[in-house]
Symmetry: C2
Subunit: 303 residues, 2 copies
DNA sequence: TATGCATGTTCGAATTATCTGAAGTTGTTG
DNA sequence: CAACAACTTCAGATAATTCGAACATGCATA
């Protein structure tokens, strides 16, 4: 049960090639030439192949030896990287960080931070997961995610969490320009609104029954998975409802959606960063600090 | 100058995880438990990290230990594969095989053979290189390629080569349907032809001056890189000339090109496989045998 | 609660692997 | 031809790894 290839043997092959001789490699590795001879011959014996052609004065690599040298360099580098990255993990870098973000915010608000994080070169896999309504807190509490970007204060569960306010998300009541409500008398009354399907994003919380979105009236609804779909559905005139103002700036400007006055106004929501109070991983704390100061993120909110 | 990670240590970590205990791993590796303890502790000391949490009865992996185990498995597999593939190279498989093919043939005639070759699972990198006219033999002689598919007998150079006939390539004189020559009296005379640009594929031989394609008259030419381009240029009505009949079967059938009778007919060319007589690599001989019997290849030729 | 068994560690000694230094062979260069 | 370089062989020295015995601790069962 013996492994033929060892990291040390590959190092020796590499040094021989770079220095041009067994003697040169011996010098670099602080060994004597016969030790180099021994290592090479042991490798040849264990693999049962000839790595060097010794018919000349100077040993030359066989095709198999050349192949082993070149592929072996890849392995050497991987072994060195693994030692390095393992140490980084031991120093507190998580191997994985899952970031949940409220669908009220666009995924791209996280991209600059993620890009900067990858530039650090630490071995952490970053995952981003979109959540709707109470899904954000639920995901954090049940540890489906490690960090929440855009958690509200309404559905915060029991437990010790650390939060930081990011800014307010405003809402507008938006309809497509050719929707009947676009021509109705403003401010819109509840009975006017109730006549048309509401576009509703389905809560991603796993603790609540499906379809529970704070709607108990008999208004018909179109259920979608996230805010992007809600915007699209309302833009297509299939549904009506509240939308985050910053998310539909261009649609409002270009007339693809129309903001209406409503009798019962939906209040802005303060959105937060949130994490478990006891979590202190280096990647988590890095993102906490970076996203606390992210202009890309706050450009979608009112501070 | 000491490498922390060894292949053996990674094997030990793997066995511990699979067997669920140090004792289990010791059994599998035919060692005693204290030898396992020693290996793990040596690795921890060399990396200067804790791989196992020993606060319980049974040692459990730290996050860094888990990371090392999982990434280390990749390295273990790579090392085993390298030993295997190196042995294959030593047994006569080349690390690389360059196949030159005459542009008169389509690249896809080689694909079934290449696919079958990859199914062998041997560590040989296959490259295909297109050649025009004398470029085929030139590439073989100067060892830019190891095998030629579609070598003619006209430009065969000095040297000891092994050849095998594959079949004949027929030629037709083809023009676009709206080209003036399409309405000319047949068989076309030389003076009729000379009035329009000839489409010419540039010889890829490096031993000849550029532009040397057997044309010494003052007929204007459009020079292209290969037969596919020659077909396209002639189909667009920009040039005229001889084309391999099998390569333009569908164009002739659909009327995108028209075959004309010419006074001076171009004779068919016998195409061959060719290699250096002394080359006997396993991959080379595999392709030699396979392509000798390839129906995909001979479907483009007349046998 | 006591007992038996499993798990992992410590430690000195045994065993194995690797390295060293000296002598030797062969090729290359001035 | 002499000097030097390159690599090998071989016995002995050194270093690394494994072993076996004793030990400490946790867990399951009677």
């Amino acid at each position: 049960m013996h492994t033929a290839i060892t990291i040390d043997a590959l190092k020796v092959l590499d040094a021989i090639d770079r220095k041009g001789s067994f003697a040169g490699a011996a010098g670099e590795l602080f060994r004597v030439p016969s030790a180099i001879s021994y290592t090479v011959q042991k490798l040849e014996e264990d693999l049962n192949i000839a790595i060097y052609d010794r018919s000349g004065h100077r040993a030359t690599l066989t095709p198999a030896g050349r192949y082993l040298l070149e592929e072996g360099r890849t392995l050497l580098e991987a072994a060195e990287n693994l030692a390095h990255t393992t140490k980084q993990v031991a120093q507190g870098w998580e191997t994985r960080l899952r970031i949940g973000f409220n669908t009220l915010l666009p995924a791209e608000c996280l991209f600059p931070a993620i890009r900067a994080f990858y530039d650090l070169g630490v071995p952490v896999e970053v995952q981003i997961i979109e959540e709707v309504f109470a899904g954000s807190w639920d995901a954090l509490q049940s540890r489906r995610v490690d960090l929440i970007v855009g958690a509200d204060q309404l559905s915060k569960p029991a437990g010790t969490f650390t939060t930081k306010a990011l800014g307010k998300m405003n809402f507008v009541y938006a309809v497509a320009p050719d929707h009947p409500l676009a021509a109705a008398t403003q401010p819109l009354a509840e009975e006017d609104i109730a006549r048309y399907p509401a576009a509703v994003a389905a809560d991603t919380s796993r603790s609540l029954p499906p379809g529970h979105a704070g709607i108990f009236r008999r208004q018909p609804t179109i259920t979608v998975a996230n805010i992007d779909q809600k915007i699209a559905v309302q833009q297509a005139g299939l549904g009506v409802g509240w939308l985050p103002e910053s998310r539909i700036r261009s649609q409002l400007r270009e007339g693809q959606l129309i903001a209406l006055d409503v009798h019962d106004v939906r209040q802005p929501i303060m959105l937060h960063l949130a994490r478990h109070a006891e979590d202190q991983g280096k990647a988590l704390m890095w993102f906490w600090k970076t996203l606390s100061q992210s202009e890309e993120l706050t450009s979608w909110l009112e501070t």
